[in-house]
C-alpha cells in the first residue's frame, strides 16, 4: 500500500518535472504535439464504444439473439466489438447488415477465434457475391430497358412481317413448356418408382456428428440428390430414414424443399430406422471404409447411403454404424476403374453417388457410371481412353483427336485399302497440314 502511494506521489512529481522540461526543451512544440495525440488516444479508449453498431450504423438486436441471458449477452458484445476491430484491421468481415440473427447465434457457439474468423470470411465472400449479383442484375435490367426502347421503335410493323418474325412473343411453332409441367413429369416418374422401382435408403442420422456448416452442405446435397434422382430415366424409390424433423439438417432440407411433408409429394421420410422398414438381409450399407468392393449391382438389394459430409473429422462413422448393426457393407469400385491423382481425397458428394448408382442400375457399366466422379481428382487420361470413358459428355469437353480426311486421300479406292491408308495416315501424323491444304484449296 505504501508502495502505491509513493508511486502516485512520484507520478505527480513526474508531471511537474515534465512540464518544466517541456518549457525548457528546444523541441517543446513537437513534444506537445505527440503528447496531445497520445492524450486523445487514451481519452478515446475511455469513451463509450458501441460495438453493436458498425460504420454504417447497422444495429444488432442483442436482446433477441441472447434471450436475455446476461452471460451470453456479454459474450456477444465482445464478439461484436471483435468483429468491428477485425473490420478496422482490414480483415475480411462483412458489414453487420449482412450477418443475420442465425449467423450471430452460430458465431456465439463457435469454439475459437479462428473459427469465427473463418466464418466471417465465408460471410464476407457471400455478401460480396450478393453485391456483385445485384450490380449484374441492374446492368441487365438497364440493357433490357434499352433493348425495349429500341424495339418499341418498330411497333408499327405490318401484320405480314410480324407473322414472319420467329421469336419469343412473336410467332412460334412450339407451346411454352412451364416449369410445373416439367415438375409433374418428373414427379410422375417418381410415383412410378414407388411401385416398381428399386428402393434406396438415405440414412440421415448423422446430424449430431457434423458441424453446422457440414449439416448445411449436407442438406443442400440431399436436395441435389433428390433432384438428380427424379430427373433420371429410371429413378430409385428413395427413403430418408432416421430423419429427425427437429434436427438442423432436416429443417434446412425443408427450407430447400418446402413441400417435403405434403402427402402427395413423392418422397418417403421416416423418423424410424431402415431396420424397421426393410428386411435386414436385403440391406447393404455403402461405406467407403470397408474392404468389399461392389463388383456387380444387385437389383434386389436395398442400398443405404449415409448422408454424411465429413470435412472436419474423417472417422469411419458409417462403417462403425454398419458394423454395430451387423449389416452387409460395400464400397464403390473407385480404385478398380479409376486412376486417382494425388492430393484431393476420394470423397464424393451425395448427388455424385446417386448419379453413379442410377447409371449403374440402368446399364451396369461402371466405366460409364463413374464419369460422375470429378475429373480434377483423377490422373489425366490419354485422349482416346478419356473419350471412351465419357461417351455421353458434351462434345467440347473431350480433347479428342479426330481423324480428318485430307484432300489427298484417294477416296474412291478406300474400300479395299482402308487398313493400310489409315495406318499410313496415322504414321505420317500430318493431318493438320493436310487440313491446311484443304483450306487453301477451297479459298
Amino acid at each position: 500500500m505504501a508502495m502505491i502511494t509513493r508511486s502516485r506521489q512520484l507520478l505527480k512529481l513526474m508531471h511537474i518535472t515534465e512540464n518544466i522540461r517541456m518549457l525548457n526543451s528546444s523541441n517543446a512544440k513537437m513534444f506537445t504535439k505527440k503528447y496531445d495525440v497520445l492524450f486523445s488516444i487514451y481519452r478515446r479508449f475511455s469513451q463509450p464504444f458501441e460495438g453493436s453498431r458498425d460504420e454504417d450504423g447497422n444495429e444488432v438486436d442483442i436482446k433477441s439473439i441472447t434471450n436475455g441471458d446476461p452471460e451470453l449477452e456479454h459474450k456477444l458484445k465482445v464478439i461484436l466489438l471483435e468483429a468491428e476491430v477485425m473490420r478496422q484491421e482490414g480483415k475480411l468481415v462483412p458489414p453487420n447488415s449482412d450477418i443475420s440473427k442465425s449467423h450471430w447465434t452460430e458465431l456465439l457457439s463457435l469454439p475459437s477465434r479462428n473459427a469465427r474468423r473463418k466464418m466471417y470470411e465465408y460471410l464476407f465472400k457471400l455478401s460480396k457475391k450478393k453485391e456483385n449479383r445485384l450490380t449484374k442484375k441492374l446492368e441487365k435490367r438497364q440493357k433490357f430497358e434499352e433493348h425495349k426502347q429500341q424495339r418499341q421503335e418498330k411497333t408499327d410493323v405490318p401484320i405480314e412481317e410480324f407473322a414472319h418474325m420467329y421469336d419469343l412473343q412473336h410467332n412460334s411453332l412450339f407451346l411454352r413448356i412451364y416449369e410445373s409441367t416439367m415438375n409433374n413429369l418428373y414427379n410422375s416418374r417418381l410415383i412410378q418408382a414407388i411401385t416398381y422401382g428399386q428402393k434406396l435408403v438415405v440414412d440421415c442420422g448423422y446430424d449430431q456428428n457434423m458441424t453446422n456448416r457440414e449439416n448445411f452442405n449436407c442438406a443442400k446435397q440431399l436436395m441435389l440428390l433428390f433432384a438428380e434422382n427424379r430427373m433420371h430415366k429410371e429413378p430409385f424409390d428413395i427413403h430418408f430414414c432416421n430423419a429427425n424433423p427437429e434436427s438442423f439438417l432436416i429443417k434446412q432440407l425443408n427450407k430447400y424443399i418446402p413441400t417435403m411433408y405434403e402427402k402427395w409429394f413423392p418422397l418417403n421420410i421416416h423418423e424410424c430406422s431402415y431396420l424397421d422398414i426393410f428386411p435386414k438381409d436385403q440391406l447393404v450399407y455403402l461405406t467407403p471404409h470397408c474392404r468389399e468392393e461392389m463388383s456387380e449391382f444387385d437389383h434386389d438389394a436395398v442400398y443405404i447411403i449415409g448422408s454424411l459430409v465429413d470435412k472436419v473429422n474423417n472417422e469411419p462413422l458409417s462403417l462403425a454404424k454398419a458394423k454395430k448393426e451387423g449389416l452387409k457393407m460395400a464400397k464403390l469400385p473407385l480404385d478398380r476403374y479409376l486412376q486417382w491423382g494425388s492430393g484431393s481425397g476420394k470423397s464424393l458428394t451425395l448427388n455424385q453417388v446417386i448419379s453413379i448408382l442410377l447409371d449403374v442400375q440402368l446399364n451396369g457399366d461402371w466405366n460409364h457410371a463413374l464419369r460422375h466422379v470429378p475429373r480434377r481428382k483423377l490422373v489425366e487420361y490419354s485422349g482416346e481412353e478419356y473419350s471412351r470413358n465419357t461417351s455421353d459428355r458434351l462434345k467440347f469437353d473431350k480433347p479428342r483427336t479426330k481423324w480428318v480426311p485430307s484432300a489427298r486421300v484417294p477416296f474412291d479406292s478406300l474400300s479395299y485399302q482402308r487398313k493400310s491408308v489409315t495406318r499410313s495416315l496415322q504414321g505420317e501424323e500430318n493431318n493438320r497440314t493436310d487440313f491446311k491444304h484443304y483450306i487453301k484449296d477451297s479459298s
Partner: protein, 548 residues
C-alpha cells in the same frame, strides 16, 4: 460433311481461345487480391511533413489494385500496422498527428496497433537487454538525462495505465484483439500486473496467443515474480501455446541482476530442468543469450555437436536416455486403450468381440523383444507388389530378429492368411501373430502391445502415429508418448540382399536438455526450418560447477 468438320474445329478453337483469354483475365485479378497495396505505396514514398500523409492515404485508397479491400474504415490501422512491422515509431506517431490535424478520430483497431507499435520498439530493450525502466524512480532519472522520443513513449504508457483504470470501470467489454495489444503494451511498463486480468478477459472468448503469454511471462520474471512466471509458463503449455524467446529472455535478464553467482547458476539450472521436463527446443537467440550470461560469469561454455551415439564432441561425456517412470508408462498405456482403441465409438476402429479377444491375448502374451507392424513392413516397398514380395519382406525382417534370438510379435489383418504359404508359414512358426479383422485398425493394437510388453520392447514401423498421438488429448501424455516412441521406434529402410534388413534406429539417448558428467548440454534449433524432424546435432556444452 467436310464443311461441318471445319466448322466444328474452328468453333472448338474459338472456345479454347476464349477460355484461355478468360483464364488470362482471371489470373492477374487473383494476384491483385493478394497484393499488399499499403506496403507497396509506403515503401515507395517518403513522409517528411504531415501533409505528405494525405497523398499517401489517397494513393492507397485510389490505387488501381484496390478493389474495395482498403477503405477509410481500415486504412488507419493498416498504416500503423505497417509502421509496427517496420518498428518505426516516429512514422506511426506522425501519422497519428496527421489524423488529429484532419480531425479524424483514430478507431479502436488503430489504437490497438499503435499500442503494439510501442511494444515492438520497446520489447527487445526491456526483455532482452533488461534495461527497461518500469520503476518510476529510474524513469524520472532518465527523463532528465535525455529528451528523446523514448521518454515520451513511456510517458504515454504511464498515462495509458491511469486511463486504463477508468476504461475498465466504465467499459467492462473489450474484444480479444484490443486486449492482446493492450497486454503487449502493458507488459513493458510497471503496470504489467494488469496483464493477468486482461489474459483472463481474453479467455472469455478466445485463447491468448503465444506473444501475449510470453510477454506477460517475461514481465513477471523481470519484475521479480518468478513463481508467477513459472506458473504462467505451465498454464500456457496446458493451453498448447508454445512460449517464444521473449519469455526466456525475460528470465535471463532477471538473472543478470542477481549478485550471487551461486544463485544465478541455481536459477539457470531451474531453466534447464524446465526445458528438460517439457522437451522444449531452445531457440537460437536464447541459447546465445545463455552463452553470453555464462561468459559474464566466467563459466566454461562451448557451442559444439553431439554425435548420433550421444557423445559430446567437446567434453566426451555420454548423454543419458530418459526412461518414462513406471507410473507414466502405465498411464500412457491406459490412455492408449481408452482414447485410441476404444475412443468415442468402439465400432469405428474395432468391435467389442475383437476387443475381448485382444484383452485375453494380452493377459497371456508375456513379453516380447520386438513388436512388428506386419502390414507396414510388407508395404514398405509399395502396395502394388505381389503378395510374394509382401510376405517375403515380413519373413526377412522376422528372420533377422529370430536369428538374433529375439522374441517377435507380428500384428496384422486377417487377409494376410491368404499370403503364400512358404513365407507366411515361416512367420507363423517363428513369431507370435495377432490378426485383427480386415476392417479394423491394427495400429492402436500395435501400440498397446508394445506398451504392454514393457519398456525395452522395440516397435518396428514407419508410421509416426501422429493421428493416434492427437487422440491422447492431454499435452503431458502427448509428450510422454513422443518420448517413448522416439526411443523405441525402428523404421525399416530397405531389405538388402547381403546385409538383410536395414533399420533407421533412434539415437541411444534423449535429445533434450540434460546434465552429463557434471556439464549441462542444451540442444538448440538453428533458424532454418527443421521440416523432417531431423536429429538436432547443435548443442551448447556448459560447465556450471567450475568454482565449487
Amino acid at each position: 460433311m467436310l464443311g461441318k468438320c471445319i466448322y466444328s474445329t474452328i468453333s472448338k478453337k474459338c472456345v479454347s481461345l476464349s477460355f484461355i483469354q478468360q483464364r488470362g483475365l482471371i489470373r492477374p485479378r487473383k494476384t491483385r487480391e493478394y497484393f499488399d497495396v499499403v506496403r507497396a505505396v509506403m515503401d515507395n514514398s517518403t513522409v517528411k511533413s504531415l501533409n505528405d500523409w494525405k497523398n499517401v492515404r489517397n494513393s492507397i485508397l485510389e490505387h488501381s489494385y484496390n478493389s474495395g479491400k482498403y477503405t477509410k474504415n481500415n486504412i488507419d490501422a493498416l498504416i500503423i500496422n505497417y509502421c509496427a512491422n517496420k518498428k518505426d515509431c516516429d512514422l506511426g506517431t506522425s501519422y497519428l498527428n496527421f489524423l488529429k490535424k484532419e480531425n479524424i478520430e483514430p478507431n479502436l483497431a488503430t489504437i490497438g496497433k499503435y499500442l503494439k507499435l510501442l511494444y515492438t520498439i520497446n520489447a527487445d530493450m526491456v526483455f532482452k537487454e533488461g534495461k527497461k525502466l518500469p520503476v518510476i524512480e529510474e524513469e524520472l532519472i532518465l527523463r532528465y538525462k535525455s529528451g528523446s522520443a523514448e521518454n515520451i513513449r513511456s510517458h504515454g504508457l504511464v498515462h495509458f495505465n491511469r486511463y486504463y483504470e477508468d476504461l475498465r470501470r466504465d467499459y467492462p467489454v473489450l474484444d480479444s484483439y484490443s486486449l492482446e495489444n493492450a497486454i503487449l503494451a502493458l507488459s513493458v511498463t510497471s503496470k504489467w500486473r494488469t496483464c493477468l486480468d486482461l489474459l483472463k478477459d481474453i479467455e472469455a472468448t478466445a485463447t491468448p496467443n503465444n506473444l501475449c503469454y510470453s510477454s506477460s511471462i517475461a514481465a513477471a520474471f523481470i519484475n521479480k515474480e518468478e513463481e508467477l512466471g513459472w506458473a504462467m509458463l505451465e498454464e500456457m503449455l496446458q493451453c498448447e501455446r508454445i512460449p517464444n524467446s521473449y519469455a526466456f529472455h525475460g528470465y535471463l535478464s532477471r538473472l543478470r541482476r542477481h549478485r550471487s553467482k551461486r544463485l544465478i547458476i541455481e536459477k539457470l539450472e531451474m531453466l534447464f530442468l524446465f526445458l528438460q521436463k517439457y522437451d522444449m527446443k531452445c531457440p537460437e537467440d536464447v541459447i546465445k543469450n545463455i552463452a553470453d550470461l555464462a561468459d559474464g560469469l566466467k563459466l566454461l561454455n562451448i557451442f559444439t555437436t553431439v554425435s548420433f551415439k550421444g557423445i559430446c564432441q567437446n567434453c566426451q561425456s555420454r548423454m543419458t536416455n530418459f526412461e518414462l517412470t513406471p507410473n507414466e508408462f502405465a498411464e500412457l498405456k491406459g490412455a492408449v486403450l481408452e482414447n485410441v482403441i476404444v475412443g468415442k465409438n468402439v465400432f469405428s476402429k474395432t468391435d467389442p468381440d475383437e476387443l475381448e479377444r485382444f484383452k485375453k491375448f494380452v493377459t497371456n502374451m508375456g513379453t516380447f523383444d520386438v513388436v512388428l507392424d506386419g502390414l507396414n513392413v510388407a508395404y514398405s516397398a509399395g502396395t502394388k507388389n505381389s503378395p510374394v514380395v509382401h510376405s517375403g519382406l515380413v519373413a526377412a525382417v522376422v528372420s533377422h530378429f529370430v536369428e538374433n534370438r529375439r522374441r517377435v510379435l507380428v500384428l496384422g489383418r486377417k487377409h494376410m492368411n491368404k499370403w503364400p504359404k512358404q513365407n507366411w508359414g515361416y512367420v507363423n512358426e517363428n513369431a507370435t501373430v495377432f490378426l485383427t479383422q480386415n476392417i479394423s485398425q491394427d495400429d492402436p493394437y500395435l501400440l498397446y502391445c508394445a506398451l504392454q510388453s514393457g519398456q525395452n520392447t522395440v516397435i518396428v514401423t514407419r508410421d509416426l502415429m501422429r493421428s493416434h498421438r492427437f487422440l491422447l488429448e492431454s499435452p503431458n501424455l502427448k509428450k510422454n508418448f513422443n518420448r517413448w516412441l522416439n526411443q523405441r521406434q525402428w523404421q525399416l529402410v530397405r531389405v538388402d540382399e547381403q546385409r538383410g534388413p536395414i533399420f533407421r534406429k533412434p539415437p541411444p539417448f534423449t535429445v533434450t536438455t540434460q546434465k552429463a558428467n557434471g556439464l549441462w548440454h542444451i540442444p538448440y534449433e538453428q533458424n532454418k526450418v527443421n521440416e523432417k524432424d531431423q536429429y538436432i546435432d547443435t548443442w551448447l556444452c556448459l560447465k556450471t560447477t567450475q568454482f565449487t
